[in-house]
Symmetry: C2
Subunit: 239 residues, 2 copies
């Protein structure tokens, strides 16, 4: 794209967060995300968030979905707007980036990648807690996304975004421990989750080597994501 | 500003919400906000949110503060990013608007307007629940801001943003009733607020024609606003 007269261009980028089990004996869960290796200046060869320029004839949400699919082969059912980054010095040229994010279960990721027509090139999944120096301010953007995940995303939403339909409280605790990067006391965790009403016990149990553990599902009545003005706010009559 | 080659321009707008007492016998509190009458096309003569173009050499936060001060004389200590609006047809030309918002106490508004060098022109304060047809998608933006205020802003933040330092639970309830547009049961409200830990009782009481009412203050330990990546997220070492 040619540098425009006003000198300000609009891009979109997307942070896709999922969990993978570490291939180590302890097999702990780790937050991972896909990054794309840059093939041109600025920051050629550095890793960056999937994204691209906003098209003249597409909305922000559509641009985020399109650029994510083009670069990674992923097509989440819902992308949420995270934040607009517009510092003057965040790029050698002036770029305002509207950043989206989504939480995806690893089985969703696997299914979408298996179904992608062209296998994505130059894409690798990184441990979010051990990133290299990325292009632009993308380290900072990911730090912000992880901070939001830790601070603003409740147990129910994590359950919905990162766990299968039915899960035990131990599953839910393990996911939250991976996100928070610290152990949670099982008894306290159970009390907090049960008091919150954000997950609902089912009649099912998981059996195995331990005593049977009750299966839960997330409470669909609890608002999980910021649905954005065009999805949830009352409709304004056309002017 | 000349239409750029890419055809996409970036603007900032700000939603300033405060409460005023209706000049009617019941004197109920009403959410009000300042709007600016447009003096040129498109939408000449219609009312619009205060705002303007993003400068090539200023960040998003700075542009929001500058355009708000220039158009309304207001300078809140903190503006929070609300959402980026970028639908293709939201303006006759292609404009992405980064929208900020703030809750201001009416006495803060009065003090800032009294201190403003130039009294703002073409500015009026409107009842948020009875707006005319505004320019662009600004009705929709305000509907979204009010939806966020109702759904995402807890009692503590409302107390901090819209009430003086010390307030009674009746004050806090009245403010929340104004925002929600419905009555709240006093006993239930008291229980919920006290259980939330978001406001803290003081030793003070307000005396008057009724029995003394305890004064509360907001709990500064509770996160009030989304502080944005540059304010709260852990600092990333410079690359």
């Amino acid at each position: 794209m040619t540098r425009t007269e006003s000198g300000i261009r609009v891009a979109v980028s997307t942070v896709i967060l999922t969990l993978r089990r570490h291939p180590t004996p302890d097999g702990r869960l780790t937050v991972v995300l896909p990054l794309v290796r840059r093939t041109r200046e600025p920051h050629e060869f550095l890793w960056a968030l999937p994204g691209g320029w906003l098209g003249e004839d597409e909305g922000l949400d559509a641009a985020a979905s399109r650029t994510l699919a083009e670069t990674t082969g992923l097509s989440p059912s819902y992308l949420e707007q995270l934040y607009a980054f517009g510092d003057v010095d965040r790029s050698p040229t002036r770029v305002v980036s509207i950043v989206y994010w989504a939480l995806l279960r690893s089985d969703e990721v696997d299914a979408q990648l298996a179904a992608a027509v062209d296998p994505p090139e130059n894409v690798l999944w990184f441990d979010a807690s051990a990133l290299p120096t990325l292009a632009f301010d993308h380290n900072q953007i990911i730090t912000y996304a992880l901070w939001r995940l830790r601070n603003k995303v409740g147990y129910s939403r994590v359950a919905h975004g990162l766990l299968p339909e039915l899960f035990t409280l131990a599953d839910l605790r393990e996911v939250n421990e991976a996100i928070l990067g610290r152990r949670l006391d099982p008894a306290n965790f159970r009390r907090q989750v049960e008091a919150s009403g954000t997950v609902i016990p089912t009649d099912g149990h998981r059996t195995g080597s331990h005593r049977p553990a009750r299966l839960y599902r997330y409470n669909g009545d609890v608002e999980l994501a910021d649905p954005g003005p065009l999805r949830a706010a009352p409709t304004i009559p056309a002017n």
